[in-house]
Amino acid sequence: MKILRITALWCSSCLIMKSRWKVVFETFNEIELIDYDYDQDEKLIKQLQIGQILPVLIVFQNDIEVARIIGEKSVKELIKTFEGLSK
């Protein structure tokens, strides 16, 4: 599973989510995480059409986008989503 994680240095929701992602990513192995910064990777972000809310996780399986997780989510919500994707 490959995850593109889009955050920004100024975004408080991104900071809030850091610790929650850590918990989830430790639970699910085999995750390849690629980080992008909203301000520094402007061109790529434009192509991804992420909308108006940060942070964004774009989940790929076999190079096909299977999910987008937008904004603040609880650990429980994240685990539920990833469990669904792992099946």
Binding site: L9, C11, S12, C14, D39
Partner: protein, 400 residues
């Protein structure tokens, strides 16, 4: 941007026209002040001078002077009025405004007179002395009171409801205003950049200066507005206009909240990329500046520009809070203390984030769901205050 310009315009206008307004106050209600005095009494002479000053300041007051030792008629009226107020032992100076009698003259009397002028300028009242003059019956309900209701707080003791209400309003409104997310991102970005420098001293100095300059700017704007508000509180239509503005801002805040509920995703909104980028470049330049003095000047300018945006985003909360203060006719040091209280709670979330970063070298965020709720809480507060200002101003004046 238009909203911002309008707000700044009002503030600047407040500072500029303040000196010219002080002699031009008028309201719809004429407030009659009955002053019983004795020509040889020193306190009477003091009060007379004070009343002359008030006549100059308020164009809607009429002072009726009764010298009781030289004119028998005046003395008879004095006795009648004292009887009505059940204060037969009262001496001069003796002042009656509406349904309230004031014995003697001291700084407290000065405050009481101003409070009563403010109260009766915009509210209907019964002129008890006029009733006595006309030979009409004075009813129990005609009397008014300056006495304050008190509540007994644990550890603190008795506190007047007036001051407690303003105190709680300051805490609540400042706190809600502080959760406005418009400028929080700059602080987070600044702290992140400062942490990257790994220079704790620089982090302290620049971070503290940013917060202090923000507080100072907000303070100056609020004092400027207070200067204007103090001059216009007695004008009835101004009260209604301010009430309507509060209703408008409140409605807008609630609309923002409803709009945000349509989007289930709570997070940071990405708007105005170019402006954001410019501010971020400024922050980077300040943080990497080698000369501390130049960095300090830069950070002060940054704080001011950020708080201009913050002020426009606050949807009138500080403006309405200042109006509440102005309607309560307090002394200047007390005004300042209440403004500082508001600013402290306004900056509390920033102070917490900064302190955690200082101690742990880690940036902490505050969930955007709180800013979402600040819209609805702020909106409800504004609507309640707007409604009270228009229909029940005595409650905003905390005259229970």
């Amino acid at each position: 941007m238009k909203k911002l310009k309008l707000l700044l315009g009002i503030m600047i206008l407040g500072l500029i026209i303040n000196p010219f307004l002080s002699k031009n106050i008028y309201a719809e209600n004429i407030v009659h002040i009955y002053f019983f005095y004795d020509e040889v009494c020193a306190h009477c002479a003091e009060e007379n001078l004070y009343l002359i000053g008030l006549e100059d300041r308020y164009s809607n007051i009429e002072v009726h002077r009764y010298e009781i030792t030289q004119v028998d008629e005046n003395n008879l009226l004095f006795e009648d009025v004292k009887t009505v107020f059940n204060e037969l032992d009262a001496l001069t100076p003796y002042t009656v405004i509406g349904g309230v009698s004031l014995r003697g003259f001291n700084p407290t009397t000065e405050n009481d007179i101003v409070r009563l002028i403010t109260r009766y300028s915009s509210l209907d009242y019964v002129d008890v002395v006029n009733k006595v003059l006309l030979g009409e019956e004075v009813l129990d309900t005609d009397f008014d009171s300056l006495e304050l209701s008190e509540v007994d707080l644990p550890f603190i003791g008795p506190v007047s409801i007036d001051s407690l209400s303003i105190f709680l309003a300051g805490i609540l409104m400042g706190f809600v205003d502080g959760f406005n997310p418009c400028a929080m991102w700059v602080l987070l970005f600044l702290i992140t950049m400062l942490i990257n420098t790994k220079d704790r001293k620089k982090m302290w100095i620049l971070g503290f200066t940013f917060l202090f300059a923000s507080a100072l700017f907000y303070f100056l704007i609020m004092v400027a507005w207070l200067n204007l508000a103090l001059q216009i509180t007695t004008i009835v239509w101004i009260r209604i206009v301010i009430g309507s503005i509060a209703l408008g801002f409140g409605g807008f805040n609630i609309y923002q909240f409803i709009k945000s509920t349509k989007n289930p995703d709570i997070g940071c909104e990405v708007t105005d990329r170019t402006k954001k980028q410019k501010l971020m470049d400024k922050v980077k330049k300040i943080v990497t500046e080698q000369k501390l003095f130049i960095a300090l000047i830069g950070i002060i300018f940054l704080a001011v520009s950020v708080n201009v945006v913050e002020l426009a985003c606050s949807a009138g909360l500080p403006l309405v809070y200042i109006d509440i203060l102005a309607y309560n006719q307090l002394s200047m040091p007390v005004y300042i203390l209440y403004i500082l209280l508001y600013i402290f709670f306004f900056l509390l979330d920033d102070l917490i984030i900064f302190s955690i970063a200082m101690i742990s070298f880690k940036v902490t965020g505050i969930s955007n769901k709180y800013s979402k709720f600040s819209h609805i809480i702020g909106g409800i507060i504004m609507i309640i205050i707007g409604f009270l200002l228009i229909f029940f101003p005595q409650i905003v004046m905390f005259n229970f």
